[in-house]
C-alpha cells in the first residue's frame, strides 16, 4: 500500500465532496422548502464560472472575480425565482422538471452566444498556482484552497441555519412549510432568498472548479445529477445529510477511480478491466442510491417533521 498515494486521494476525495456539497446544499434547501425540483441548478454552477472568468479577464483579479461573480449569480438566482420558479411551486413535479430542463437549454445556448463555444479559462494568481510540501507529500495549493473555501462556506451555512432567526425559518420550512406560513412570515421573500442563496453557492462551486477545468458549456449538467443523488440519499431538505453524503460520494468516486482497475484486473483481463473500471466507478454512485432507497425509501437523514 502506497500511503502517500492514499493520503493524496483522500484529499482529492474531500475536495470533490465539498464541491458536491456546495451544489447539493442549495438544491436540498430549494427542494425541501419550496418542494421545487430544479434541474437547472447546475446552470448556476456554470454561470458562476463564466461570471467569475469574465471579471478576472477584465480586472485581472481573481478575488474580484469571486466577489462580483457571487453577487451576479445571487441576483441571477433571484431573477429566475421571480420570473419562473415562483409561478410553479404549486404545480406538480413534472412541470418543474420540464421547465428547468428548458432553462438548462436556454442557459447553455446563451453562454454559447455570449462567450462562444470554446470555454473560458480562469488564470490563477501565481501564489495559488504552486504546490505545498507537507512531509513527503506535495499538494497543489489550489486544491487546498478549494477545500478551505468549501469548508468555510459549509461553516457559514451551518451558523446561518443553526444560529439565526432566518435559519430557524429555513429549518422550519424544510420540515413543515405550513407552520412557517402560519407564523405570518413573508413566504415569498423567504423563498426568493433561499433560491438566490442556493444559486450563489452553486455559482461559488463553479468558480472554484473553473480554474482547474475551465468554464465550459454544460459543465453543470453532469455534476447536477450527482448532486441530486446526494440530495436524495441524504434526505430531501437535510443539510446535514447533504454534507455527509457529499463527502461519502466524493470518497467513493475518487477511491474507485484510483483503485478499481487494479482490483478488476484480478477478476478479468487487463483490457477488459481498463474499459470497465471507469464505467463501474461512475456507476457505484447510482448503486449506492438504489441500495439506500431500497432500504430507506426517504433517504438517510430525512428531516424530522413534527406530524408524520
Amino acid at each position: 500500500m502506497d500511503w502517500n498515494l492514499l493520503i493524496s486521494q483522500l484529499v482529492n476525495s474531500v475536495q470533490l465532496g465539498l464541491l458536491l456539497f456546495l451544489l447539493a446544499s442549495g438544491l436540498t434547501l430549494i427542494f425541501g422548502i419550496m418542494d421545487f425540483i430544479n434541474l437547472s441548478h447546475g446552470s448556476f454552477y456554470m454561470m458562476g464560472a463564466y461570471f467569475c472568468g469574465s471579471i478576472v479577464a477584465a480586472t485581472g483579479s481573481f478575488f474580484a472575480g469571486i466577489i462580483v461573480g457571487l453577487v451576479g449569480v445571487f441576483f441571477l438566482g433571484a431573477l429566475v425565482e421571480w420570473l419562473i420558479a415562483r409561478q410553479l411551486y404549486k404545480e406538480n413535479h413534472l412541470d418543474h422538471v420540464l421547465v428547468t430542463f428548458g432553462l438548462i437549454l436556454v442557459f447553455d445556448a446563451l453562454v454559447h452566444i455570449i462567450w462562444g463555444p470554446s470555454g473560458l479559462s480562469i488564470p490563477l494568481p501565481d501564489f495559488l498556482n504552486g504546490q505545498i510540501q507537507l512531509g513527503s507529500l506535495v499538494f497543489p495549493i489550489y486544491r487546498l484552497v478549494i477545500i478551505f473555501g468549501g469548508l468555510a462556506v459549509a461553516g457559514i451555512l451551518y451558523l446561518l441555519i443553526s444560529r439565526t432567526r432566518l435559519g430557524m425559518l429555513i429549518r422550519a420550512g424544510a420540515s413543515d412549510r405550513d407552520m412557517v406560513e402560519s407564523l405570518g412570515i413573508n413566504i415569498n421573500r423567504l423563498f426568493l432568498f433561499v433560491f438566490a442563496l442556493g444559486a450563489a453557492m452553486a455559482g461559488f462551486a463553479g468558480m472554484l472548479i473553473a480554474p482547474i477545468t475551465e468554464a465550459t458549456i454544460g459543465m453543470g449538467n453532469d455534476i447536477i445529477i450527482i448532486a441530486f443523488v446526494v440530495v436524495i440519499v441524504g434526505g430531501i431538505g437535510s443539510i446535514k445529510g447533504a454534507f455527509y453524503v457529499a463527502l461519502m460520494i466524493g470518497f467513493i468516486d475518487t477511491m474507485s477511480r484510483s483503485y478499481l482497475d487494479d482490483f478488476l484486473e484480478l477478476l478479468a483481463s487487463t483490457a477488459a478491466a481498463e474499459t470497465a473500471a471507469p464505467a463501474i466507478s461512475a456507476m457505484l454512485v447510482y448503486v449506492l442510491m438504489a441500495v439506500v432507497l431500497a432500504f430507506k425509501p426517504t433517504g438517510l437523514f430525512p428531516p424530522t417533521a413534527g406530524n408524520r
Binding site: 502506497d2 502517500n4 498515494l5 493524496s8 486521494q9 482529492n12 476525495s13 475536495q15 470533490l16 454559447h112 462562444g116 463555444p117 470554446s118 470555454g119 479559462s121 480562469i122 488564470p123 490563477l124 498556482n129 504552486g130 504546490q131 506535495v138 497543489p140 495549493i141 489550489y142 486544491r143 472548479i209 480554474p211 482547474i212 477545468t213 475551465e214 465550459t216 458549456i217 454544460g218 459543465m219 449538467n221 453532469d222 475518487t254 477511480r257 484510483s258 482497475d261 481498463e274 474499459t275 473500471a277 471507469p278 464505467a279 461512475a282
Partner: protein
C-alpha cells in the same frame, strides 16, 4: 395549431429538398458545432470555408454546395445527420468526422449508398483494417500512427518507463495501443477516463496515481476541451520536473491560446508528434496558414488543416473527371492518386485509403509575435503506413 406547424414544416422540408441543383458538387460535412467540442467544429468550419474561397467555390466549373451538419458529439446523432445528407441532400461526398465513434456509427450509411466518405480526422483501427472500404479515404491519419511516432521518439530519448492516460473511447484506445506497440520500456500504469458530452475533467485522482507510479514520463491523449484542463492540473500539481509530459492531439492551435491566457508556461518546450505543423514549409501550407491567420487572428489547428485538405482532395478528383461524378470508378481512382497540393506536403494512399506520410516531432514555442505555436523539430517517420493496412483485403 401544432398540426399546422407540422404541415408547413413538411412542406418546407419538401421544398428544401426540391431545390437541389443537378449541376453542382454536393458535399456533406459532419463535425461538432455544439457542446464544448464545438470549438473544434468552429475551426474546421473556418478552414472549410477558406478552402472553398481558395477554389472560388467551384470544382471543374461546377458550383459547390456544402451541407454542414452538427453531430452534437453523439454517435447516433452523427449517424442520423449522415443519413439525412445521403438520403435527403443526396450529396456526392460526405466528409468530416472528428470522432472515431461517430465515424464508426455513420460510415455504413455513406458506403452502402455508394457515396464517397472522406474522413478529415477520425482514423479508427477498424476502418483501416477489417472494415476497410474502397470508397473510404482519409486526409488525416490512422489513430495509431501519431502515438507510434511518439513512442519511437521516446525510445530514442532513452525513456524507460511510461504512465499512460487517455479518454475511454475508440480513438483513445487506438492511441494507447499505438504508443504501447512501439515503446520499448515499461508501461507503469494506465488510466482510461470517461469521455463523451459529460467527460471527466478533474484528473486529480489519476495524476496522483501517475506520480506515485514512479514512471519516467507521462503520455497523454486529450483532444478538445479536456486538453487545457489536463495541462493546467498537470502544472498545478507541479509535475513538470518529476514527470515530463509527452502528448498527441492535445497541444494544438485550439488549446495553446487558452493555455497562454491562463499562463500555463509548463507547456512551452513540451514535445508532441503530428503529421502536420503550421510551420511546414510548402506553398499550400503557407497560403492556408497565412490566410487563416489574416482572417481569424490565430493559427489554424490540425483539424482545420485536414478539413482544408479534404476539400482540396475532393476538388482534385472532381477536376480530374471534369465534373462527371456519375462515373464512380473514375472518381475513386482520382481520389486514390491524392493528386493535389496537400498542406502537409505530398503523400500517397495505401490500400485502405489511409495516407502514407511523414510524422514530425514538434515543440511548443513562442512565435515572433509572441503567440504560442508548434514548430517542427525533426522527422520521426518518413512515409509511414499504419499497422492495420495488412488486415485490409482491398
Amino acid at each position: 395549431m401544432i398540426n399546422r406547424v407540422k404541415y408547413s414544416l413538411l412542406v418546407a422540408a419538401m421544398a428544401l429538398a426540391g431545390t437541389a441543383h443537378a449541376d453542382s458538387v454536393k458535399i456533406g460535412f459532419v463535425s461538432t458545432l455544439t457542446t464544448p467540442a464545438g470549438v473544434i467544429g468552429a475551426d474546421i468550419k473556418n478552414s472549410v470555408e477558406l478552402a472553398l474561397q481558395h477554389i472560388n467555390n467551384k470544382m471543374a466549373n461546377l458550383d459547390v454546395e456544402l451541407f454542414l451538419e452538427d453531430d452534437g458529439f453523439k454517435p447516433d446523432v452523427g449517424k442520423q445527420k449522415t443519413d439525412k445528407l445521403v438520403k435527403q441532400n443526396d450529396v456526392d461526398f460526405v466528409a468530416g468526422y472528428i470522432w472515431s465513434h461517430v465515424l464508426l456509427a455513420s460510415m455504413n450509411s455513406v458506403l452502402s449508398a455508394n457515396k464517397f466518405l472522406i474522413s478529415a480526422n477520425a482514423g479508427p483501427s477498424q476502418v483501416a483494417g477489417k472494415r476497410c472500404h474502397e470508397n473510404f479515404f482519409s486526409t488525416s491519419w490512422q489513430n495509431d500512427q501519431t502515438p507510434m511516432a511518439l513512442g519511437e521518439y521516446l525510445n530514442k530519448e532513452g525513456i524507460r518507463s511510461l504512465y499512460v492516460m487517455a479518454p475511454n473511447y475508440a480513438a483513445g484506445k487506438d492511441m494507447v495501443a499505438g504508443v504501447e506497440s512501439i515503446f520499448e520500456g515499461e508501461i507503469k500504469g494506465k488510466d482510461l477516463t470517461k469521455w463523451g458530452a459529460d467527460a471527466q475533467l478533474d484528473f486529480s485522482a489519476e495524476l496522483a496515481k501517475a506520480k506515485a507510479s514512479g514512471a519516467q514520463a507521462l503520455f497523454i491523449f486529450y483532444p478538445g476541451k479536456a486538453g487545457p484542463a489536463f495541462l493546467k492540473q498537470y502544472q498545478q500539481a507541479g509535475l513538470q520536473s518529476v514527470l515530463p509530459l509527452y502528448s498527441v492531439f492535445t497541444v494544438d492551435a485550439i488549446s495553446l491560446p487558452r493555455l497562454q491566457k491562463a499562463n500555463i508556461e509548463g507547456v512551452l518546450g513540451s514535445k508532441n508528434t503530428q503529421a502536420w505543423s503550421p510551420d511546414l514549409d510548402n506553398a499550400a501550407n503557407k497560403r492556408f496558414v497565412g490566410d487563416y491567420l489574416a482572417k481569424h487572428g490565430g493559427y489554424p489547428s490540425f483539424y482545420g488543416a485536414q478539413a482544408y485538405d479534404s476539400i482540396m482532395l475532393i476538388s482534385s478528383a472532381v477536376e480530374s473527371v471534369n465534373g462527371d461524378l456519375s462515373d464512380k470508378n473514375a472518381v475513386r481512382d482520382a481520389l486514390r492518386l491524392a493528386n493535389y497540393e496537400s498542406v502537409r506536403g505530398p503523400y500517397t494512399y495505401g490500400n485502405n485509403g489511409m495516407p502514407i506520410q511523414n510524422f514530425y516531432l514538434r515543440e511548443v514555442v513562442e512565435d515572433d509575435e509572441g503567440r504560442w505555436t508548434t514548430k517542427v523539430v525533426e522527422t520521426v517517420f518518413e512515409n509511414h503506413q499504419d499497422p492495420y493496412a495488412s488486415d485490409c483485403k482491398l
